[in-house]
Amino acid sequence: MPLDKERLKRVPMRELSVEERIKTFNEVPLGYTEEEAIKEASRCLQCVKPFCVGGCPVGINIPAFIKAISKGEFEEALKIIRKANIIPAITGRVCPQEDQCEGRCVMHKIGDPINIGALERFIGDWALKHKSELFKVPEIPKKNKQVAVIGSGPAGIAAAADLAKMGYDVTMFEALHEPGGVLMYGIPEFRLPKRIVRSELEYLRKLGVEIKTNVLIGRTITLDELLKEFDAIFIGTGAGLPRFLGVPGENLNGIYSANEFLIRINLMRAFEFPEKSDTPIKVFGTVAVIGGGNVAMDAARSALRMGAEEVKIIYRRTEKEMPARAEEIRRAKEEGIQFKLLTQPIEFIGENGYVKKIKCIKMKLGEPDESGRRRPIPIPGSEFEEKADIVVLAVGQRPNTTVTFGTNNLKLTKWGTIWVNPETLETSIKGVFAGGDIVTGAATVISAMGAGRKAAKSINAFLSKQ
């Protein structure tokens, strides 16, 4: 294809209309058809030195799978992706591609970067559609060594998949009643349908990984006990503990952590209450979501779908400093979510135990802080009140260290994350490795997967020496 005007533009992805989407939890971006995928794939310049690959935390051979799509060889594309990533239908949806592969695409200089995320998703979805024949797993010679993977989120999935492919017997432990970690309890249905998470986990089981739910390591079984039964351990327990603001009135009824709000909806399916779910949730009137990250956008858009009359996001800096993906901010705005910026809650005011109003203070931006973003400073005397019937606090997560209960040797950092050797991801306990949010603090699905893969490599090196 010549470098004509058409080639500079992305094949647009169809989306559910705003009217349709705010009434249901159906997925918003609808994905490419085969024709659209082939057309988009044909835009790729097939660089000899592909920068995109360097931007991928798991190192997918991006030009190769795109080339296969352009020729209509979808099964070949799937094989190429799966070498590095077993859950393309998930990562194709939730990776921040604009900061990774697509951010480095040379097409940027002359037009739109290739829609790599959409193409990856296309292959992932295509594989799920053609399940039976494509999910056959090659016979893997067994190494007869046991590896435990703690946590079934992105880091654990990536580590377990690689280790199983290498021939290790992998047992994965999940504390909740369903595996998937944040993919299951955190990211909403309209961004990542749960049937897709379940299907992708099915492939993990086909690779021979045994998944045990309802086991909380640190309580049900301790790390020390696991060490007696397994030759190596990977910890990928994530950053699942919610932060609160620590302001008066925060425990009033109607105030949720984003984790609780999203767990009730995503994992417990409160949107089917009382018919098919026994878990209630309260969403009505004005919903205020505090925070500016992807979790805040997820909570705000979920609140809208749960029947809120109006939803506003309250954030202490400006839109420019928001950590959420531009795409998510755009969709939230399209759906009518209001943005109250440079605003910080200082007190929650209730009536009969239920929140009614938020006392806020106006902020201005000062000098950049350690995150490089300009620090918000309260403007004295600028207090005002915002109406709120329901509040969702999406102000960050901390690492969950339950895994350390009953073991004394696991070294933590001053931030409460698990200390690891940055080269090998081995912790202070020999044979125990860790990766993902439990090491880095809250980050992305794909960076956790990258860490999982890196740990799998280290575990293989460690066990090969024995």
Partner: protein
């Protein structure tokens, strides 16, 4: 791993005891801990205190009162049926103390939760004075078990149908006023009973431990549904508790939070009862 109900016993109207196969939990359980349970695939996650466990048999014992949809559903399961999910043990074990005089104040279905702590504290060599109570004689559970591990026992019922007419806290107050010395009071039961216990013991300066029954979802510190103010700080009942220094607990907040879904619980209950009627009508 199926969590099969091996034995079921009706202890009192709407209060049932089940013994469930759960070897991993039985192996690790300690007095004061609890489980998070989901009855079926639509079920909510609810906390229930571990009443007893048998490591050799791989079983745990739970006692519950049928008050909402989840406990009613659980009550409908029979021996041989399976519970969909049980996570545990979670929460911190109760504090070990030895050679003290301890007063256990327990009410209603809370006696089930107080029993394992009473047994443990007795076995650790403490002198146990138990005050247990219920609304009426037929609702009083685990009387024999509590007697077995108590050096002294007092019984109250609201209607006077057994023991003394009145509340457990009245007996406690009298004992303290008479100059009875306790190193510690352990109070487990309805929030209002625990609150009054703390009001009674505070002027006497008696250390009072309560085991909170906050509403929960995850049971492992992820969600904060069970948050409670203790000594001016927000704590999570599931990971920092369930036992706290009662004199520091904001009981009004706890009770307010327990009422959060009252409306929804009513809706669910009505729907559930209607369905049961439809089913029994169809099968009858």
């Amino acid at each position: 791993m199926p969590f099969r109900i091996l034995k079921k016993k009706i202890l009192a109207p709407n209060i049932k005891k089940i013994i469930v196969k759960a070897p991993l939990i039985a192996r690790k359980a300690k007095a004061g801990q609890f489980v998070i349970l989901r009855v079926d695939e639509h079920g909510e996650r609810i906390p229930l205190t571990l009443v007893d466990w048998n490591e050799k048999e791989g079983t745990i014992t739970l006692i519950f009162q049928e008050v909402g949809v989840s406990t009613l559903k659980l009550g409908l399961l029979e021996e041989g049926d399976e519970i969909h999910d049980i996570l545990g043990p979670v929460g911190n074990p109760g504090e070990y103390v030895r050679d003290q005089t301890i007063c256990v104040v327990a009410g209603g279905v809370g006696i089930g939760a107080a029993y394992p702590r009473t047994k443990q504290l007795k076995e650790l060599g403490n002198y146990i004075v138990s005050i247990i109570g219920a609304r009426s004689a037929e609702l009083l559970i685990l009387e024999e078990e509590m007697k077995k591990y108590s050096d002294e026992i007092y019984i109250t019922t609201d209607d006077g149908s057994k023991g003394r007419k009145g509340f457990v806290t009245e007996v406690l107050k009298e004992l303290l006023e008479k100059g009875r010395k306790f190193d510690q009071v352990l109070s487990i039961g309805p929030p209002i009973m625990m609150k009054v216990t703390c009001d009674v013991t505070k002027p006497f300066g008696v250390k009072t431990i309560v085991s909170l029954n906050s509403m929960m979802v995850c049971g492992m510190g992820m969600c904060g549904a069970c948050r409670v103010t203790v000594g001016g700080e927000t704590k999570f009942t599931c990971v920092h508790g369930p036992e706290f220094d009662g004199h520091l607990v904001d009981f009004n907040e706890l009770m307010m939070r327990l009422r959060m879904y009252k409306e929804e619980e009513q809706i669910a209950l009505e729907k559930f009862k209607k369905n049961i009627l439809v089913k029994s009508h169809a099968s009858g």
